[in-house]
């Protein structure tokens, strides 16, 4: 599994972005949200029980991710048609504000190393990627263990928070440079 310091592999995947007819699908890549942080999270398969709870929770907190200049991507290896069917059939997923990516060929899951060794479906892996494409956080839960979105936000906050003010300047130190 890729980890902190590794580059997020490039990808180009179909995704479900809406339930509106004719606008359901969009092809997304690793370059689709330039200048933003990315939160990429995987679940094992559509139409199961633990999944909609945590996916819906990511959806409810999407505004918090937007406030932090972060784009959320949800991923499983189901096709985009299955994603769409699931969203159409599950009340909690109808108004999901972030794209559901279809890693049908498993290229991204394999590149990141998140497939379960026996079952072949993605583990509940979460990656936080900075705007330069470097993975800054990686965590993985077993198939049956859901995630805590508060914790993901806490990690994102910590990664983004630095004492950047010259007020923090100590005598003899060079002043801070513009990032």
């Amino acid at each position: 599994m890729l980890t902190v310091g590794d580059q997020l592999p490039s990808f180009k995947l179909q995704s479900v972005v809406s339930l509106e007819k004719g606008r359901e699908f969009q092809e997304l890549t690793h370059e689709s949200s330039p200048g933003k942080w990315k939160v990429v999270f995987f679940w094992p398969m559509d139409f199961t029980f633990v999944c909609p709870t945590e996916i819906a929770e990511f959806g409810k907190r999407n505004r918090d991710f937007e406030d932090r200049d972060a784009q959320v991507f949800g991923v499983s290896t189901d096709t985009h048609y299955v994603h769409l069917a699931w969203r159409q059939n599950h009340a909690d997923l109808k108004s999901l504000p972030f794209p559901m990516l279809a890693d049908t060929k498993r290229e991204l899951s394999v590149a990141l190393g998140v497939l379960h060794k026996q079952d072949g479906v993605p583990l509940r892996a979460t990656f936080i990627v900075d705007p330069t494409g470097v993975i800054r956080h990686a965590s993985v839960n077993d198939l049956s263990v859901g995630r805590n979105v508060d914790e993901v936000l806490r990690v994102l906050d910590a990664l983004q928070t630095d004492e950047l003010c010259p007020c923090n300047w100590k005598k003899g130190e060079p002043t801070l440079e513009v990032a």
Partner: protein, 185 residues
């Protein structure tokens, strides 16, 4: 009459010096219009005087891009936090606190819409109002390293001082006049 001029004329006679200084500091000097208006707007925001802040923004928009207004407000908001937090650290003077992480977001510090030096100059002016000594020293150093003269810094602080006083003076505008002496029989 502009909103700023209306406000200025409402300053009572007791604060006449402030009324005249306000006019003077906002004209010319060693600062660019961007620096002058940025400092003035942030100072009014720091002094928490909304009508003065908005009147200054009105004036500024005639001369400078919107980024100047945005940066001034951003600097005022950030300094309202940092001046308190870092002033605490400086005043307490214990190394143990200096070693603790602030865990406060201040990302806008390094994403100015105008430029780093102007943003720092505005931060310096607000720090002067807040009375954070070490913040003032730190921001002054960055500003001077950024190429501004001490005359420019001096003018920025003159604006901050005057706008701060104007905010106080405007609070006095509502002082009721003394009651007329009763007519004796």
């Amino acid at each position: 009459m502009s909103r700023l001029e209306t406000l200025r004329t409402s300053i009572p006679d007791a604060a006449k010096d402030i009324k005249l200084n306000l006019q003077a500091v906002l004209q010319g000097g060693a600062l660019t219009p961007e620096q002058r208006w940025g400092v003035a707007i942030a100072s009014a925001a720091a002094a928490r005087r909304g009508d003065l802040r908005d009147a200054l923004i009105d004036e500024a928009r005639r001369e400078v891009p919107e980024a100047v207004v945005e940066d001034a407000l951003a600097a005022a908001a950030l300094m309202a936090m940092n001046n308190v937090y870092y002033r605490f650290r400086h005043m307490i003077g214990k190394p143990s606190y200096a070693g603790k992480p602030a865990r406060l977001r201040m990302n806008r510090m390094v994403q100015p819409l105008t430029n780093k030096t102007d943003f720092e100059l505005v931060s310096l002016a607000v720090s002067a109002i807040a009375g954070c000594e070490a913040c003032i020293r730190a921001h002054e150093q960055v500003v001077v390293e950024g190429g501004l003269t001490e005359d420019a810094v001096n003018d920025a602080v003159r604006i901050a001082a005057t706008v701060n006083a104007a905010a106080t003076a405007l609070e006095m505008a509502s002082v009721a006049p003394a009651a007329a002496a009763p007519i004796s029989a």
